[in-house]
């Protein structure tokens, strides 16, 4: 019989992590912060769409489960990303973890600060720890993503399953 494993999130479930300085935040019942105004992928990336630019990062839930990020590999500007496709990796606790794009488009900027300070992904996942900026190619991509409430519920269900 397969053994039930202690999930790393359980240890953190007893605390509520504070959201970033941004005033528009919501404390989620999954004990990681989920920001209003963003859309979320089931693979735990977020996207903030502002005009012709979309900023992408990983969520507080993701960074909490990954542990201390020590290295981030990002694409070159000009690269294409596809919704659901991998565009980079983060390294934490001896593991590389794929990061997937919530939307399709062209990478127009990458967060070069992460080369020297990869820990920004942990300390500021929704602000200073952003990963890439994308020129979206398909506005309808956003419709398939989760709003903050749906993502909060998704996290709760995922945590409950383990």
């Amino acid at each position: 019989m397969a053994l039930r494993m202690w999930a790393s999130s359980t240890a953190n479930a007893l605390r509520i992590s504070c959201a970033s300085k941004t005033p528009a935040f919501a404390l989620s019942r999954c004990f990681s912060s989920v920001l209003d105004g963003l859309k979320y992928a089931s693979s735990h990336e977020w996207v903030k769409h502002e005009g012709s630019v979309a900023t992408v990062g990983i969520t507080d839930h993701a960074q909490d489960h990954l542990g201390e990020v020590v290295f981030v590999e990002l694409p070159e500007t000009g690269a294409s990303v596809k919704q659901g496709g991998g565009f980079g990796v983060v390294e934490s606790v001896k593991a590389t973890s794929d990061v997937n794009s919530p939307i399709s488009g062209e990478v127009i900027e990458v967060n070069t600060k992460l080369t020297e300070t990869p820990g920004l992904v942990n300390s500021s996942p929704y602000e200073e720890g952003w990963l890439i900026k994308v020129k979206p190619s398909s506005p309808s991509d956003l419709e398939s993503l989760m709003d903050p409430q749906a993502y909060t519920k998704f996290c709760e269900e995922e945590n409950a399953a383990h």
């Binding site: 039930r4 494993m5 542990g67 290295f71 934490s92 593991a95 590389t96 383990h162």
Partner: protein
């Protein structure tokens, strides 16, 4: 003898590939391909690699981790692999065990580093039960406070790999290629390599270790022995791995400018 594959009802299938002295670069290329392109679970056991090699994790920097002068002098291959983690020197005394799994086939384990690592600790706890003071300590496999296995992982959307290089035996001279890493577990307590690591051959025979590992895997999966050719079938189109051999030029550049020795005539 490895228990023959009878399908255990209810357990997910795991293909077991046994290799012997397969070059570590070839093994890593195979693993990366199976992780990315296959939808099956795989266990790869490579009993030693053909020649000594240095294997760094994805973010490894030769200038920080290696005694590059010695590495270049002895022409030791340096590989950068696709998984995270630290640097190891491997040779014929290293036993490699790799698990590549669909996340849904390991229920109760979340596709995150610490969860997968904890599960692996339970698996190897079965292997070393009653043999030694085994534990997973700050993400290393140790007997007491001595490390005998280095492990690393890579996690994709639906699959993950956990692979380990076990020091069944090693040549002390090879450890001289490695610098003391800046990032080290607390329990290391600044010990040098030879004081920090230990040989598995002091604890159990090699064949016993491989057999017990297979038995432990069988508690979670229905194991089927397959040959190397089976790894070609599921993957189809050509795959370009990111794992690569560093060039001599790269190592020389990492070494930096060397002082010029000027002869003095008398």
């Amino acid at each position: 003898m490895i228990q023959q594959q009878g399908k255990k009802v209810g357990l997910p299938l795991m293909n077991l590939v046994r290799l012997n002295r397969t070059p570590i670069l070839k093994q890593l290329h195979l693993e990366e391909k199976l992780l990315r392109k296959s939808s099956t679970n795989w266990c790869i056991i490579n009993d030693g690699t053909d020649t000594p090699a240095i294997v760094m994790g994805i973010s490894g920097k030769p200038s920080e981790l290696l005694e590059i002068g010695s590495v270049l002098r002895d022409q030791v291959p340096v590989i950068k692999r696709f998984t995270g983690g630290g640097t190891v020197v491997v040779d014929k005394g290293t036993v490699f065990v790799t698990l590549i799994c669909n996340k849904d086939d390991v229920p109760g384990v979340q596709p995150y580093p610490r969860s997968i690592m904890s599960w692996s600790g339970l698996l190897y706890n079965q292997v070393f039960k009653g043999i030694a003071d085994f534990q997973l300590r700050e993400n290393d496999y140790v007997f007491g406070n001595r490390k005998f296995g280095g492990n690393a992982q890579s996690i994709t959307k639906n699959r993950w790999i956990h692979h380990t290089s076990f020091l069944w035996d090693y040549a002390e001279g090879n450890m001289a290629f490695l610098k003391q890493p800046a990032r080290a577990p607390e329990y290391r307590m600044e010990r040098g390599h030879t004081e920090f690591i230990c040989r598995m051959n002091e604890y159990l025979p090699r064949t016993d270790f491989i057999e017990k590992t297979t038995e432990a895997v069988e508690t979670y999966f229905s194991v089927k022995n397959v040959n190397l050719e089976a790894t070609e079938e599921p993957c189809g189109a050509e795959f370009v791995p990111s794992t690569r051999l560093l060039s001599k030029q790269e190592l020389e550049e990492a070494l930096g400018p060397q002082p010029e020795i000027i002869g003095v005539s008398v």
